[in-house]
């Protein structure tokens, strides 16, 4: 009986929402309070079926929260040499003028070569305060720039060191999906990091990488710095907007 009641009250809440919307302005209350009001009156009058009573506190009214990708520091406690990546986005269809206000997503693997995922299965439960490590989103400034604080990426079998980039227009339309390549060889950051604990045995060079082997001229970042002081990465990416 109370299940029926519960369902009924649920339905009342759901059905009530559009009506409220029609009747009131944006100040209209959440459906939960509709349920509450209905059941308050019935509590005490029925003894055999105790109706679910209202929540006494609604809590703060829900407000818009940006995606947890929106942040400048994507390190999330991951170990590795510090890396500050500055990306400048320009418009290839407007004389390479800086593109302000576009969304830039980046993601890369950790020092061991792993991406953030739910333990691989993709579907197991996770703590809601956990984070999507080494993934971030920023909006470009007037100079078309975004800066991320992260760690130098590791590498995994079959790929050269890289950072994924997705540039979207302010309205969320994809402008470019690309990857940032790293200079390699003596004296480079890739050589200095030396693949972290793995070393570089079996490393895939840019020339052998199936993404970069067609040439990295437009995807190759300038990377400076040291393992002790951290590395700075800079790259300009022209996208059609």
């Amino acid at each position: 009986m109370e299940r029926k009641h519960f369902l009924k009250s649920l339905l009342a809440g759901v059905a009530g929402a559009p009506a409220l919307l029609a009747a009131c302005s944006k100040e209209s209350v959440a459906p939960a309070s509709t349920t509450g009001t209905t059941t308050t009156g019935t509590t005490g009058t029925t003894t055999s079926s105790c109706a679910v009573a209202p929540t006494e506190t609604e809590g703060p009214f829900p407000t818009h929260v940006p995606s947890s990708y929106v942040r400048a520091d994507i390190t999330d406690g991951k170990a590795g040499y510090a890396l500050t990546a500055t990306l400048t986005i320009t418009n290839s269809t407007a004389s390479c003028a800086p593109l302000a206000g576009v969304l830039v997503d980046i993601w890369h693997c950790d020092a061991e070569g792993n991406y953030s995922e739910y333990g691989g299965s993709g579907m197991q439960s996770t703590n809601y305060t956990a984070v999507h490590f080494l993934r971030g989103r920023q909006t470009t400034d007037a100079q078309g720039q975004v800066t991320f604080k992260s760690v130098f990426p590791g590498w995994y079998s079959g790929r050269a060191t890289h950072i994924h980039v997705h540039v979207y227009s302010a309205t969320g339309t994809s402008l470019k999906v690309t990857q940032i390549a790293f200079p390699e060889g003596t004296g480079t950051a890739v050589a200095a990091v030396n693949g972290y604990a793995k070393g570089l045995s079996g490393y895939t060079s840019n020339a052998s990488d199936n993404v970069f082997s067609d040439g990295v001229a437009l995807e190759l970042a300038a990377v400076t710095g040291t393992t002790t002081a951290g590395f700075q990465l800079a790259i300009a990416l022209a996208v059609p907007a």
Partner: protein, 171 residues
């Protein structure tokens, strides 16, 4: 008799029935829809497919969408302050605490927000199940009883979309 330890799972399904009024449900739907549209373009840059089902069928790795889109939900979960929504005890108080959740896209369409449907499963913290009273489960937080020996309890009834997720025998 020693109580068994259980965890509940409450699966909250959100879809266009949430309406357009600015509620938690509606904000979560809007945020996950926006994130889905962004992430779908990463997986399918040529934009050949418009629905979740098509992406799952044709694009390798598309099952990562559940995980990738879940980033849009975390901030909203924080607003719940650790309480499983909607599930009340028979005194009308929120009854279950959670930290674990699982987000699923059920259906999504890049071009049609009204077809957006998601589910969030909330996994409760472990509770001791002391007895069953009518259709209610008499549960209590694990931990030592008060000095007086009494254990504070609450009554939770199983209801649609609320299930017992796990059970550990009495120690």
């Amino acid at each position: 008799m020693l109580p068994r330890t259980i965890t509940f799972c409450y699966r909250k399904v959100l879809d266009a029935a949430a309406g357009a009024a600015p509620s938690w449900d509606q904000l979560v739907l809007a945020a996950t829809y926006a994130e889905f549209r962004l992430q779908a373009q990463t997986l399918d840059p040529a934009r050949r497919y418009r629905t979740l089902a098509e992406l799952l069928q044709h694009v390798p790795g598309a099952e990562r969408l559940h995980f990738l889109v879940s980033a849009a939900v975390r901030g909203y979960l924080a607003q719940l302050e650790g309480w499983v929504p909607d599930v009340l005890d028979n005194l009308g108080r929120r009854a279950l605490r959670f930290t674990q959740f699982q987000f699923e896209l059920l259906s999504a369409d890049v071009l049609d927000p009204t077809r957006h449907r998601v589910a969030i499963s909330f996994y409760s913290e472990p509770l001791h199940w002391h007895a069953t009273v009518g259709t209610y489960l008499l549960v209590a937080e694990p931990g030592p009883p008060a000095p007086s020996g009494e254990i504070l309890t609450r009554l939770v009834s199983l209801q649609p979309y609320l299930s017992i997720h796990s059970l550990s025998p009495a120690e």
